[in-house]
Amino acid sequence: MSKYDWLLFFHVTGAFLLIGGTVVAASLSLAALRRERPSEVAVLLGLVRFGVRAIYAGVFLTLVFGLWLVHDAGYSYGSFWVIAALVLWVYANAAGGIGGRREEETRKLAERLAAEGDAPSAELRARQRDPFTLGVEYSGGVAILLILVLMIWKPGA
């Protein structure tokens, strides 16, 4: 196997971890949206951390080995698909960070409410359905999907 093959393997591994971790986080967050009891919301949002770890590993591997691949394969760092992918990568990270912090606050609220009687709460429901948080998280997911499109078609290469 050549150096290029190894670089591609680690880059693709990063993509699997990034998208796989996003699926974990999205599935559990959406499942939490459908629950009323704070203890159940807290458990599901607590499990999101495993998806977040996969996302962190994926974010690191895709960037490092992606840039290395661009150099190794002789692509230009100024190509449209490379610049667009980097811009979307930064946006997806920022969106994930903002959404993740808000989800963490929601989880802490759910844990507190669970300890105080575990009754359904309007405050928790409102926080879970906060349009800004949902918008930021969904747009981050779309950005990751667009990066995959750029990686497959490589427009401007």
């Binding site: 093959d5 693709v12 699926v23 203890s39 159940e40 458990v43 995959l148």
Partner: protein, 145 residues
């Protein structure tokens, strides 16, 4: 320039295959996390068991179908169905044997959700399938000869 081994006209097919494969990995990872959590968090085990089974039907199976259809379309368009390299064989072995694994996973998931048993088997089989998917993506991406 399209991803390696794929001509200009098969970008959509390759996208379908890669999207399905990554969603499949994420879906299986999610149900494994839920089933292991279901074994440990006894207070919420019913919720976690039902959710693991539900996501097997709603995410894992559709993702497998998208991945497999995409793989077949790329294979046909690139003529790899006539002269398959070894890495293609490994990919197909994992994906086609995956039907049996997914059927068993669905059965164990149903038993866990409805009768509260087989959650250990569900978590164990799901974890093994994750490893198999890792082997497949190694052969699909690095393409060792």
């Amino acid at each position: 320039m399209i991803a390696s081994l794929c001509h200009a006209y098969c970008g959509g097919r390759l996208f379908l295959h890669v999207l399905g494969a990554t969603l499949l990995f994420g879906g299986v990872l999610t149900v494994v996390i839920l089933s292991i959590a279901g074994l440990r968090l006894t207070q919420h085990t019913e919720l976690l068991r039902r959710l693991a089974f539900g996501l097997t039907l709603l995410v894992v199976w559709p993702a497998w179908i998208v991945m497999r259809v995409g793989a077949q379309l790329v294979l046909t368009s690139e003529g790899l169905d006539k002269h398959s390299p070894s890495w293609v064989g490994v990919g197909f072995a994992v994906s086609d044997a995956g039907i049996v694994v997914l059927l068993l996973l669905t059965l164990f998931g149903w038993l866990a959700a409805r009768r509260g048993c087989a959650l250990n088997a569900f978590a164990g089989l799901g974890s093994l399938y994750l490893v198999a998917l890792g082997v497949a993506w190694f052969f699909m991406s690095a393409k060792p000869t």
